[in-house]
Amino acid sequence: MIYREAGDFKTSYVDDSQTFPIRFDRYGYYAALVVAFAIVPFVINDYWVNAVVLPFLIYAIAAIGLNILTGYCGQVSLGTGGFMAVGAYACYKLMTAFPDVSIIIHVILSGAITAAVGVLFGLPSLRIKGFYLAVATLAAQFFLVWLFNRVPWFYNYSASGQISAPEREVFGVAITGAETAPWAAYLFCLVFTVLSALIARNLTRGMVGRKWMAIRDMDIAAEIIGVNPLRAKLSAFAISSFFVGVSGALFFAVYLGAVEVGEAFGINKSFLVLFMVIIGGLGSIFGSFAGAAFLVILPVFLKIALADHAAVSPVSNALATLCLAIFGVALLLFLAHLVLRVFGRRLWKDLGALCGIVALIAFFAYALLSGGLGWPTDIVAHVQLIIVGALIIVFLVAEPHGLAQLWRVAKEKLRLWPFPH
């Protein structure tokens, strides 16, 4: 009923090969776009834009970029932070050198410059692959960050070594600088995100994307059937770097406004984007969005649940106590299960997973209902490291295709429901 192809007949090849062939799906995406463009700008406030929405949109572009390289073409890159820095500094130099040109053009040009740099650092991929290449891209990361830190020309000889975005307008509305309205920054980034997703989706559906996937799946076979590995790999590096560069430019100009390169574009940024791609789903545009959303919301959520502390009503306090009790019982069962498993016995099948999940949910419900636990922020930061690390491992072990695959499976089930097969 909710998600069916029944009655959704295609009468032409164009219909059959469109991006979202299922009508319900298509209308769902249209609806999401309408909400994002026509409703959200009116209800959004400063906190949400800066804490969640802007980083989500910008990281989504970076994740799409990395996903093209890593997920579609199979070349793992740890240099994303460095390439974002190229985008940011290119945008800064363009903005200060040509103040009269529209910032839209600047952002696109920064993407193009990053693409050129990406191709340069992608050249070794013709000789080396796998984690040799992953390590080689670290060279790009460290070298680029050092370059922007040490060569004064890049930050216009400013005393602090920082770059800060001058005020620029689009159609008379401030986009960068202190005067920017939340909705303007949001809409500006949204346009870029939607266009990036559209372009990436269509590239990966077409001939270029199929070449990338052939290289990813088996490079020798791809070469035999006529894919030029040089062109396929370098085009993946170029296009991926283009998106990463655009996201770096937006990250600097619209989101942060002022940037210090080692802090904003360090090696951790590379890993963050890589994690978005892994958790979201390798080789999926939707996965890039899911991963970006997840890793942007996780710290905010953990801060609210663990670090903050607010007074709450007696009702929710009572509910919190109930959750705590559930958490205790589930945790005990989970530990008992674990101990038995070590000795090669089981209480009953799947108990461990079930109790573990229940314990986790109950714990966070308790944390939220009691208005936050008020832990010191450094512990919360470390807990976040633990969670992200554990999630990476869990996803790689249990579901290598990430959140996108879970979503796909859920859709398959919906299509068949109520039948099991």
Binding site: V76, L123, P124, S125, L126, R127, I128, K129, G130, F131, Y132, A134, V135, A136, L138, A139, F142, F143, V145, W146, N149, R150, D219, I220, E223, P229, I267, F271, L274, I278, L373, G374, W375, P376, D378, I379, H382, V383, Q384, L385, I386, I387, V388, G389, A390, L391, I392, I393, L396, V397, P400
Partner: protein, 337 residues
């Protein structure tokens, strides 16, 4: 003799010493890679974790005390005893063996037959996890580690070089000890791999998993053993680096220094790790010395640059890889890209 040359020689010797420390971390990588084909990014964090645990045990710190204090509002920090260094090292080794078991049991047993790059990303996840656990367990403040290794300038070398060049070299005693320990470690590892039963089994597993299985070698045991050995190497590296610059987060970044060492030396070669470490250590120190000196780079090129140590190793390794993808001593795998 021109003073630039004498300084250069001092830099060279110091580079050798730094290279030994890089090689020490790189050894851990090589061990795991040889026996299981896993490129262990977490090696640096394992060194940090080992050093943290060692300090924690020596100081009698209560594990997870920060978390316990935050949850229950208590004020506990120390048990109130001090453990002698030797005993603490043994306890830490037990912790590292437990870690090796857990890593094998919960992660890599499930990832058999996956592509190397997936395993690599899993170790990145492991690195994050371990770093978080280490910080929550022992606190993230900078700690001093002192297991009784001598530190400070070596007076004999200072005197000797002063008589020779009228300029005393500054060589840290700790670096000399690290070089000695690294040499002993390599000898021990080579003897172990060549002559002991377990060592031969380890090499058999490295050569061919399936064949090793079919002659009755337990893969699980070998992997736990190898990860424990890597934990031991990490502990040694952690002690050396921790004594040198304090036990703190930046310790885990030495893994990033060990990566180019490996690319240069080849992922599967213990001598490669040593030679690569020395080349990188000497190379980056000399490059920094030359490029930041007014009298050298300033006169030759007309400009000087500094802080090149961040990227020099990588760019060197990258250029090297383009011409010799298997590294100096790596096995040549015939495969067209």
């Amino acid at each position: 003799m021109p003073e630039q040359l004498i300084w250069g020689m001092e830099v060279f010797v110091n580079g050798l010493m730094a290279g030994v420390l890089y090689a020490l971390v790189a050894l851990g990588f090589v061990l795991i890679f040889k026996a299981s084909g896993i490129f262990n990014y977490a090696q640096g964090v394992m060194a940090l974790f080992a050093a943290l645990t060692l300090v924690g045990i020596m100081e009698g710190q209560v594990p997870f005390s920060h978390l316990i204090n935050a949850v229950f509002g208590t004020e506990i920090h120390h048990f109130g005893w001090h453990v002698p260094a030797f005993l603490a090292i043994i306890f830490t080794m037990l912790v590292m063996i437990a870690l090796a078991w857990a890593v094998n049991r919960f992660i890599f047993r499930h990832l058999v037959n996956q592509e190397p790059i997936i395993l690599f990303m899993a170790t990145i996840g492991l690195a994050y996890f371990l770093e978080g656990v280490g910080d929550v367990m022992w606190g993230s403040d900078i700690k001093k580690l002192d297991v009784g290794l001598p530190q400070g300038i070596n007076l004999t070398i200072d005197e000797f070089t002063f008589n020779l060049f009228e300029y005393g070299f500054f060589i840290d005693n700790l670096d000399l000890w690290a070089a000695l320990v690294a040499a002993l470690l390599v000898i021990a590892l080579v003897i172990f791999a060549q002559y002991s039963k377990q060592g031969r089994a380890m090499r058999a597993v490295a050569d061919d998993h399936q064949a090793a299985l079919s002659v009755g070698i337990s893969l699980n045991f070998i992997w736990v053993m190898v990860w424990s050995l890597a934990g031991f190497v990490a502990l040694v590296a952690g002690i050396m680096w921790g004594t040198k610059s304090g036990v703190q987060f930046s310790l885990s970044l030495i893994a990033l220094k060990a990566l180019p060492v490996l690319m240069l030396g080849g992922f599967t070669s213990i001598p490669g790790a040593i030679v690569g470490g020395l080349i990188i250590g000497v190379g980056e120190k000399l490059f920094e010395f030359i490029m930041s000196s007014d009298a050298l780079a300033g006169q030759w090129f007309g400009f000087t640059i500094s802080a090149t140590e961040n990227w020099f190793a990588y760019v060197l390794a990258l250029l090297f890889l383009v011409f010799r993808p298997q590294g100096l001593f790596g096995e040549k795998i015939i495969e067209r890209v």
